[in-house]
Amino acid sequence: MKIKNVNPPQLIMTVFLLVLVAAAVAVDISLVGVINDALIKWAMNGVIVLSLIPMINVGAGRNFGMSIGLSAGLWGMIFALNYRMTSWTGFFVSILVGVLVAVVFGWLYAKILNNLKLNEEIVGTFAGYSFIPIMNLFYTFVPVTNLQMLYPIGGQGLRPRVNLENYFALILDNLWQIRIGQIVIPAGLLLFFFGMAALLWAFSKTRTGMIFSAIAENERFVQISGFDVNRYRTIGIIMSTALAAIGVVVYSQSYGFLHLYDGPFMMSFPAISAIVIGGAVHNKATVKNVLVGTFLYQTTYLLSIPVANAVLIPEMAELFRTIVTSGIILYAFIFERKESRNEKNKKQ
């Protein structure tokens, strides 16, 4: 890897990870458990982070309104659970319904964003925020018949957390586990994640994928060349929304719970932070960025928990994670723009 390819956030996170590993070794934390968890966390959050790629590459900014896509995935799972679909049927029906709902949501989201070019991020943030109370109304009134999902008293409204244990919890995590000594490699989960990543990589090589990056590079030029930019943007936004829906299904099966209501509220910031750590810029993101960024972000957080507990201030891990999340995003907004502007000036 050339030094030029390492961006400052990535460097800082790598150094920090090494420091944490050293600290973990110093306070006698078993690294085997950490490695096992890190592999799961990597793939579990990875698909959600992958969902940012199409929108960044089509020039629609980082998807701060990710909760729209996540809600679609939650719809899928509510559907599957309501008809008591278990194991693989439940998992795939959740994904299928989630993606179908995501296409509708994504289309509406794209309608809004296409009118607001260059303001996607601020509008996305608040569109995502305001979407959550709408979804909460839906969760309160949705006619669900499966009593395990409803509040025990009153029988109206979904519970904030639905246990997936009897449905499809850990179904991907437990698929094709490879044991090497104490280390467990969740091959099924990793293969699913890499499969999604490979599909996205393949997509970027297709004609549509090429047009995407051309739009991000120079929208005017593509418009003049006779392409319908808004159509491609709509496709990109729908893809992001659908991938987020798949991502939340994968996340939930690993997590073991269906987290409704305010669950998706703050999920976009860690994902965006992870992709920035991976080296994505505002109009270009690759699969490699996601793989590297998610691994660094999740593993650092994972390691910080036992270390914070060892120094007897358990809140530190969460605070630290939030500092990293918002600090990295802030960095991306302030310094990256400047760099790209400087490059433009140099060319002139």
Binding site: L118, S130, G157, L312, I313, T322, S326
Partner: protein
């Protein structure tokens, strides 16, 4: 007709409030006393948004930073065991100093992110909020030596999550009291709000206010005419932060206790929603918008859960509705603003 079109948002929210008030079944006295309390606690936050809007930076979600500086000052006042007028003067002075320092830092960051100030100000607010939480949850008792054991957690590290700000409240209470709906209120807060409103009106008329408007209308033109645009923008942000700091002080004095880790959260969204409900846009805001907006938004805020309770037998329905309103109004405001701008460009083009 044009008047109605321009004020469609406040009119719509007013109608909603009337409906919600009717459905909630509360007395007018109850509503007015609740609205009065919320008005006192929130109006200065909303006024703090005016200057950044008029100099073209959009809504300054980083007013959280101002609230944080006051909370820091209050914790320190309690830590040093100040009481009476001394406590009030000390916390006010310290929060002013901190607000100027932090405001300058925010302005520095925002000036680096021209064109996307709003989202950057959200991130600044989040980051500073966690750093602040980190200082008081982890730093106090480890790096910073605590003086007052009453406000420290039992383990000796970290400030308690709720602390009693009695020393500041006492200084407020008893100054010009009056009664509304069976509760005693102090007129002193109203006097302070009046003073700050006058200060803001005065600032808008000074050189700074006029230049801010020029920067907001067209930054590159202003730059060419020799206006130090970056400096003007910084000053606007610093003043905005000071207003927010004073507002948080009023809030704490009125509330009596302080939520150390959560007291400053959410104020930015509510202030933004209130000013937009009052008919402001992200490019133009008047003092009038603040007053109308705060009253309308909070009247709806109080009545909607009760209305939801009465209509659907479910208080959370109204709660979801009001949080949808708070976030949704910001999206709508930005959409309207962009449309207006497009129309203006088209009109300029035709002319």
């Amino acid at each position: 007709m044009r008047r109605i079109k321009n004020n469609s948002v406040p009119i719509l929210v007013f109608l909603l409030t009337v409906v919600a008030f009717h459905l909630s079944g509360v007395s007018f006295n109850y509503l007015s006393s609740e609205v009065y309390t919320r008005f006192i606690r929130n109006i200065l936050f909303t006024l703090a948004l005016i200057l950044p809007v008029s100099c073209g930076m959009g809504i300054n979600f980083a007013i959280v930073v101002g609230a944080i500086s006051t909370q820091m000052a209050v914790v320190m006042t309690l830590d040093l065991n100040y009481t009476g007028v001394g406590a009030l003067v000390f916390s006010m002075g310290l929060s002013l100093v901190l607000a100027v320092i932090f405001g300058a830092m925010v302005a520095w960051l925002l000036n680096k992110a021209t064109g996307r100030e709003m989202i950057v100000s959200i991130m600044i607010g989040q980051l500073s909020s966690v750093i602040y939480q980190f200082i008081f949850m982890v730093g106090y008792g480890t790096i910073i030596p605590p003086h007052n054991p009453d406000i420290i957690l039992d383990r000796g590290i970290g400030v308690k999550s709720v602390i009693d700000a009695k020393n500041i409240t006492d200084a407020f209470r008893g100054v010009m009291p009056f009664t509304l709906d069976g509760k005693v209120y102090s007129l002193f807060s109203l006097v302070l709000i009046g003073v700050f409103t006058l200060i803001l009106m005065w600032i808008q008329r000074t050189r700074l206010g006029v230049l801010a408007k020029a920067v907001g209308t067209n930054r590159s033109n202003a730059n060419m005419l020799g206006v130090p645009t970056a400096r003007i923008r910084s000053l606007c942000i610093i003043i905005s932060t000071i207003f927010a700091a004073m507002s948080q002080l009023l809030f704490i004095a009125d509330f009596g206790t302080m939520n150390v880790y959560t007291g400053h959260l959410g104020i930015d969204t509510y202030a933004a929603a209130a000013i937009l409900v009052g008919g402001a846009t992200v490019k133009q805001a008047k003092i009038r918008n603040c007053f109308i907006g705060v009253i309308l938004f909070h009247a709806l805020f109080i009545t909607s859960p009760l209305a939801g309770q009465n209509m659907f037998n479910n208080p959370s329905v109204g709660e979801y509705f009001r949080s949808f309103l708070a976030y949704g109004i910001i999206v709508i405001a930005i959409i309207i603003n962009l449309k207006n701008e497009k129309e203006r460009k088209l009109a300029n083009f035709k002319a």
